[in-house]
């Protein structure tokens, strides 16, 4: 059957009318905060306690927006015969967010877990120079970093947990073996030694 003339016109009217009866998709942003997806890339937070001034982030940054200054401090030798140790002290850590392209390479590359993604995004400024944020501001953003998302139920155990558990299992097995070894002679002839051992374990 040939389509009726004007069918398209009626269809158009139906579409607009149907859209009107549905909820609009507008997000009323300043009044209602958006629901951000997990792992949103809002801003980069710095956990400066973890930073060792290795400069990897600044060197890997594709647009050179990370500024790091530091100096070395000499720690006095612990023993009279030992050598004095030096340690890096962070003087300045700044990220110029007018240059940053949010690639996240600095975060990936940081070997000491000092940089993190925060979902915070409301840091617009009226002057482009004010977009260079110093380390106190970056440290403040650390408080907004969410806990890492939970693993899948069937996921492989994290390496740290696996290693820690392996050690714990080993220790438990050793303790149990020691206890058994102590308990076996105790059943035959109780002695003051075994009581001491039990207290130790």
């Amino acid at each position: 059957m040939a389509p009726l003339p004007g069918r398209g016109l009626a269809k158009g009217l139906a579409v607009t009318l149907r859209t009107m009866t549905r909820r609009s998709v507008t997000a009323q942003y300043p009044d209602v905060q958006p629901e951000l997806p997990p792992r949103s890339r809002g801003v980069i937070g710095l956990l400066e306690e973890n930073c060792t001034v290795c400069m990897l982030c600044a060197r890997e940054c594709p647009d050179w927006c990370i500024y790091i200054d530091s100096h070395k401090e000499t720690l006095p030798a612990a023993d009279p015969g030992a050598r004095a140790r030096t340690r890096n002290v962070l003087d300045r850590f700044a990220i110029d967010f007018s240059l940053c392209m949010y690639c996240g390479i600095c975060i990936e590359v940081c070997p000491f877990d000092a940089l993190f993604w925060s979902p915070e995004f409301e840091y617009a400024e009226t002057d482009i120079h004010e977009l260079t944020h110093e380390r106190d501001r970056l440290r403040e953003w650390m408080w907004t970093v969410p806990a890492p998302p939970a693993l899948d139920p069937a996921a492989e155990e994290p390496k740290e947990v696996a290693a820690a558990r392996k050690t714990a299992d080993k220790q438990a097995a050793a303790a149990a073996a020691a206890r058994e070894a102590a308990a076996a002679p105790a059943a035959v002839s109780p002695s003051p030694d075994s009581a001491e051992e039990q207290q130790d374990s």
Binding site: L13, T16, L17, M20, R22, S24, T26, Q28
Partner: protein, 319 residues
Amino acid sequence: MTLLDALLRCVAVLAVFLVFPLVIGQTEHKVMAHMQGRLGPMYAGGFHGWAQLVADGVKFAQKEDVVPAEADRRVFQLAPAVALLPYLVVLIAIPVGPHGLVGQAVDAGLFFVLAVMGVGVLGSLMAGWASANKFSLLGGIRTAAQLMSYELPMLLAAASVAMAAGTLSLSGIVDAFHWWWVPWQVVGGFVFFTAGLAELQRPPFDMPVADSEIIFGAYTEYTGLRFALFLLSEYAGILVLCALTTVLFLGGWHGPFSDGLGWLWTLLKTFALAFVVIWLRVTYPRLREDQLMRFAWTVLIPLSLAQLALTGVVKVVIS
């Protein structure tokens, strides 16, 4: 009719003229937004942006009133008034309810109303000519061409109703209305409404103000309050067109409890039609200039002539 009575009627018509177009404009804001999956104005006035058009009015009033150096000053400044005032005059003659609920009953009301409505387009033509701007001139000429094409089917459709009722008085036409007039005059109603849309330059017939090609047609050079008056005249035009279609083709105040609530029926039908005007604007893209002309001459005029013939035949058969 005493002086006080006349004064009261004039004030009432003026109030309707100032308030209803704004209501239609606000409805357009919201309906268009929701039809496009948006929310529309939400801030002005607090509750769902009800005062958006008031805020717009304040903004327009604050703007500088610029007249181009090369413009024909007097004509340029007069044009908005010429565009707006005819609709106010038309509103006086439109009956709202039974028992003389009308600004001023005119014997040849239909004739009067259509003649005065035609003057409104003169405002756009004056604006286009006086602006000394090629886009304005193009817009003005397109307006004139559109008026020439669409006035004819509009008049023929209106004539069909007048023929059916046997009177030119608007109140008389509504008085003579029976429910079966709706199917009888449906083609005429379609032609009248569509041609009216084209005369108001409403989308999809907004070729004269096609902003993507001639900026804003005849209104390109206007700013501030004069521009606002042109916009207001568009919405007043919607009100007048919808009220006229209601009166001529939908039986005006006829409906349940029409003795006490007749005016409510008229308003209800008018606003339902205004909603349709907005709905059409949201749904359809703009017609091209040649499509626009072809639609008038090859579709609307034959349809209105057929309606006229049908009305005549039925009229002879039943009398």
